[in-house]
């Protein structure tokens, strides 16, 4: 028996995606800084609540205020309460009034992490004249040594749901590839008239439709827990919905023929026309609205730099795994149709 290596590859990759995609922890991040302003005076403290950090066990934790020009002011005292909670205090002289600072936290295990524009210095009536020299320092690479652990980036709204990249986003990519393969077979059918191309085309389209439905479901689940609604007026979401309508139309069209040859011919033509007719939408819609998805409207999802290399390590295998699994399901369908045709049994294809 021929070993279908690609099916095994699909399974292995999918298992890898599940394990790595859920198992690899997130980078540390700061969820809350309170209060968000520092008054002038001696040993003013703020409380930092963080996520996925090791303040107690990760080596000495240091905290700095960072000015725009990359000058750092180290906290005079850091009191660690739990792994995720600490209090840092500074003596704030009067010359820092109305300056805005980022907060940088570092320990050996977690590496450095930053909250941009976290605090602002305000005057305080009691200690209005508190003047002391400020010891700004420049930090070196060794001070802010990065952690070597393999971790996914932390984003404040997304949190752990950044892992949906491997499932939701990869699903769309795989769907698109499956539709493209189906389109290729539709074109080949019209050129050669071989029935096999029609069978492959409909099988791949059905796998694509499955992925489309799953993409919509996982997408609305994700949207519910990040943007707060099941459905949003978002470009990519609505384009996906439109594509679903068209492919359902394709299935409806196929079901309304008795003659197989005619069915294959007409549905292949419709498949090609619909695909081409929707391409302009990619250029039209950006001219009309803004998107929540990557690359639009300052969204912290995944554009360019956001898709960092640790995400890629799982994201690309996930796309390949889903394509392979989709192809597998398409092949099952194809073989059923072929068997029925050989035995001259009529089934809905």
């Amino acid at each position: 028996m021929k070993i279908a290596w690609w099916k095994i590859a699909g399974i292995v990759l999918f298992v890898y995606v599940l394990i790595a995609g859920i198992g690899i922890p997130l980078k540390p991040g700061i969820t809350d800084v309170s209060p968000s302003q520092l008054k002038v005076g001696v040993s003013k403290s703020i409380q930092i609540t963080a996520y996925n950090t090791h303040f107690l066990t990760g080596g000495k934790t240091r905290v700095w205020l960072k000015r725009e020009d990359n000058k750092y002011l180290e906290a005079s005292e850091v009191q660690v309460n739990t792994e995720n909670l600490l209090q840092a205090s500074w003596s704030i002289p009067v010359q820092l009034i109305n300056k805005e600072f980022s907060i940088v936290v570092h320990n050996a295990k977690d590496g450095p992490f930053v909250v941009p524009a976290a605090v602002v210095v305000l005057p305080d009536s009691n200690s209005a004249s508190f003047v002391t020299p400020v010891n700004f320092t420049d930090l070196t690479e060794t001070d802010l040594k990065r952690s070597d652990d393999l971790r996914f980036p932390y984003r404040s709204i997304l949190n752990e749901t950044i892992r949906n990249t491997f499932f939701h986003v990869a699903l769309w990519m795989a769907m698109f590839v499956l539709y493209l393969i189906a389109l290729y077979h539709a074109i080949q059918y019209l050129r050669t008239g071989k029935k096999e191309h029609d069978w492959w085309s409909v099988s791949f389209n059905r796998s694509g439709i499955l992925y489309g439905i799953l993409g919509l479901l996982t997408g609305s689940l994700w949207a519910r827990y990040t943007w707060g609604g099941w459905w949003t007026n978002d470009v990519k979401l609505n384009m996906a919905a439109l594509a679903m309508f068209i492919y359902f139309g394709y299935l409806l069209l196929r079901s309304s023929f008795n003659d197989d040859e005619k069915k294959a011919r007409v549905s292949a033509a419709f498949n090609i026309f619909a695909f081409v007719a929707l391409i302009p939408l990619v250029f039209v819609i950006p001219r009309l609205t803004d998107s929540l998805h990557p690359g639009n409207g300052g969204n912290p999802a995944l554009g360019g730099e956001d898709l960092d290399h640790t995400l890629r390590l799982v994201f690309y295998p996930s796309i390949i795994a889903l394509i392979l699994l989709g192809t597998w399901m398409a092949q099952l369908r194809f073989r059923i149709i072929r068997l029925a045709a050989r035995k001259k049994i009529h089934i809905e294809a």
Binding site: L18, I22, L26, Y51, N52, L158, N159, E160, T161, R163, N164, F167, H168, L171, L210, I213, L214, L217, T218, L221, W222, R224, Y225, T226, G228, L325, M329, L332, R333, I336, L339, A340, K343, I345, I347
Partner: protein, 78 residues
């Protein structure tokens, strides 16, 4: 018979999984799917994918069963 059972289990698990989230859908941090950095919404997504693929495979399976029945019938008659 078996088909009904499986449908029952599928829909049951679906409802079980999503009822707590829809009951508390008003957006509090206490929401189960929001706890521990929203990790459970990721798990829910994976479960959705798994259930979806299972249903799809189930449908293909049915199709194949029908086909087998047809082929067997033909064998008997000829």
């Amino acid at each position: 018979m078996l088909r009904q059972w499986v449908n029952c289990i599928m829909w049951g698990s679906w409802i079980l999984f999503f009822s707590p989230s829809s009951a508390m859908a008003q957006g509090h941090d206490s929401d189960f799917l929001r706890s521990t950095g929203k990790i459970y919404s990721v798990i829910a997504g994976v479960v959705v994918i798994f259930i979806g693929i299972s249903i799809y495979l189930w449908k293909i399976d049915n199709k194949l069963t029908n086909l087998e029945k047809h082929i067997n019938d033909e064998h008997e008659t000829s």
